[in-house]
């Protein structure tokens, strides 16, 4: 519960706040019966002390109730500008990603394509504090792994899962659509779509238009990290026969990306070192300012409330210590003197 910039952690305690009015009607001091109130003369200091002690009681109870409710000064989030980008990663989880760059099952010290990207991407995530990341995986169907977030530990946990056994096929189009949907359309800052795959597929002409529209609307910088297996066709290879998307899907996906009208670069990596270089280049290119919000921590005000309650209690303790009876005093002191120290006498009587 917050009111303005102040809030309490457990507002239910505040129902007890009316108890703070109790000292106005009940006194915690000793009751002494006197035959007549008029027996005590009117005394201004006594009246003031009575008011002070009543106030102390209100402060003590009120302070304790407020302290129990856990008051805090709300920390408003502050928007700052840092260096970073919204990076939506689209990662191929088809079965071939678990092979090495030589197209074999990894053995010994060999590293599969997925393991290499896992290792290198894990370093990339969190290298800059203000990057936002989203992770989408795809094979036959796209899978939203992690929505756009600044929690780099969670993103690394998602990256850590990408070298597990993959699934069946490479269905690029739906993966791209989901990766684009991860960008927050209203937020500013540069957007990066990092597409990591070891193959390509034909994009259904029906989906092409929808993808073009989404790219035009969001205008992300597109990077394709193509993990090329030895002996497989390059992005730039023209097929020997007919030049159709079915014959050379990689080349035609590249052509499709070039036709989108967004900043686009393709990196063809044939080994872990090339992947590392490509990632370093992408990091160097994406040096744009990004607004980010930093939550200011709330200020705990419980201590103040306890200190206030302590002050009130201290006065009450002093009063309890200074109580004395009107007629029980010894002969060496007179009643008028004690009256001052027992200010509630008139009321108590």
């Amino acid at each position: 519960m917050t009111v303005g910039s102040l809030g309490v952690a457990s507002p239910a305690w505040l129902w007890l706040l009316p108890l703070a009015l109790l000292p106005l009607v009940a006194t915690g001091r000793r009751r002494v019966r006197v035959p007549a109130v008029a027996a005590a003369p009117a005394d201004a200091p006594s009246r003031w002390i009575a008011r002070l002690l009543r106030g102390a009681g209100v402060v003590a109870i009120g302070g304790l109730v407020v302290a129990l409710s856990g008051p805090y000064g709300a920390g408003a989030p502050v928007t700052r500008i840092g260096i970073g980008a919204q990076i939506s990663m689209l990662i191929d989880r088809s079965g071939s990603m678990n092979e090495t760059f030589a197209g074999r099952q990894p053995s010994g010290a060999e590293e599969s394509k997925a393991a290499a990207s896992r290792r290198l991407l894990a370093d990339f995530v969190g290298a800059r504090a203000h990057d936002l990341f989203a992770v989408t995986a795809f094979s036959t169907a796209p899978m939203l792994v992690m929505p756009m977030t600044d929690r780099h530990a969670a993103v690394r946990a998602a990256i850590a899962a990408i070298d597990r056994p993959g699934l069946d096929y490479t269905n690029v189009a739906r993966g791209l659509a989901m990766a684009l949907s991860q960008f927050a359309p209203e937020s500013s800052g540069s957007r990066v779509l990092l597409f990591i795959s070891d193959g390509a597929a034909v994009i259904d002409p029906r989906v092409q238009d929808a993808l073009r529209a989404a790219f035009a609307k969001l205008h992300p910088n597109l990077y394709w990290l193509f993990l090329r297996t030895k002996g497989s066709p390059s992005i730039h290879d023209r097929p020997a026969g007919e030049d159709t998307p079915q014959a050379a899907p990689e080349r035609h996906l590249d052509l499709f990306f070039k036709s989108l009208g967004v900043p686009y670069r393709a990196f063809e990596a044939e080994g872990p070192q090339a992947v590392a270089d490509a990632i370093a280049q992408i990091a160097a290119l994406e040096r744009n300012p990004i607004p980010y919000t930093e939550p200011r921590p709330r200020r705990d005000l419980t201590g103040f409330a306890y200190a206030l309650a302590g002050l009130g209690l201290f006065l009450l303790v002093l009063a309890a210590l200074a109580e004395s009876d009107l007629f029980a005093g010894s002969a060496r002191s007179r009643a008028s003197r004690e009256q001052r120290l027992d200010p509630d006498l008139r009321r108590a009587a």
């Binding site: 009940a26 019966r33 304790l64 419980t302 209690l313």
Partner: protein
Amino acid sequence: MSRQTVLQSLPLARNLRGRRFQALALALVLVIAALVVPSLPVTRTGVAVLAVVDITGSMNVRDYAADGRPASRLETAKAALRRLVTDLPCGSRVALALFTERKPFLLFEPVEVCAAFAPLDGALAALDWRMAWEGDSRISAGLYRAVEMAAGLGTDLLFVSDGQETPPLPAGQVPHFEGEPGAVRGLIVGVGAYGLSPIPKFDDRGRESGFYAETDVQQENRFGPPPADAESRAGYNPRNAPFGAAAAQGSEHLSSVREGHLKQLATVTGLAYAHLDGPGGLDRPLIVAATPRPLPGRIDPRPALGALALALVLGVLLAGPLRGLARRITPLTPTHRLRFRKA
């Protein structure tokens, strides 16, 4: 009169013995303690769990209700998991995997539920049957692999499924579990109502197009050797019709939670079983079934100290009026009234 005489005139010794002074002084000590005592380290019990969610077709059956509207099993399971993430103590870790076909697919390794709450909640909210890469639903195979995956991650397992095997198991026999039962602890959560409901069907654009009919799905598994009763079936021929001549009939196109099957799987793998009654209450059975993991936590002693101090102050304030009330109820003798009474 000097200050000293005033002080001397006070019955200090008597006041120090007075109940009200002692109560107020104790309250003051408690408040001072609340100001200076730091939060105390305690050990709490958390969990580390791999949540595997069945996203096969039968999870689209709408046999739950939310806000007076039918809700699908998957929606209810997602809501339950999101609630679970909120309810788990900070420091607990959750990994998420999908299940369809015959294996779990790990989306992310364990993340801490408080620091990574927003992305974890978002990932759970985004779970969709459209993420499925194949239509089969071999629950037992998927469960066995999920147990292996949880062992590899060093977590417990939370397997959320309705237990409907597609295709049906040959002769209803549960496949052999090769792992050690109970090596991985955890919970199988049965999702779905106990009565049969139709399974929604979707076209290739992902739009709902009716329900599965009896002839749309495999009613009997006819791979492998025929069942023992095959010889008594109509039209049985050992070579040409080892399963009988008639088309298999059954209710595989309808779905209910296959609690018997899931409980059998739970026994085989040494996991616990719980039925999901609604989008909540998953934390208790999970914490009971899972390995307790000690988490460093801190407890703030201030509320206890403050509440005690408040009780003492209120007691002091109310003691007088209450006693007065009691006195008014019990009639007093006139002699008492004539004397000055010291309370």
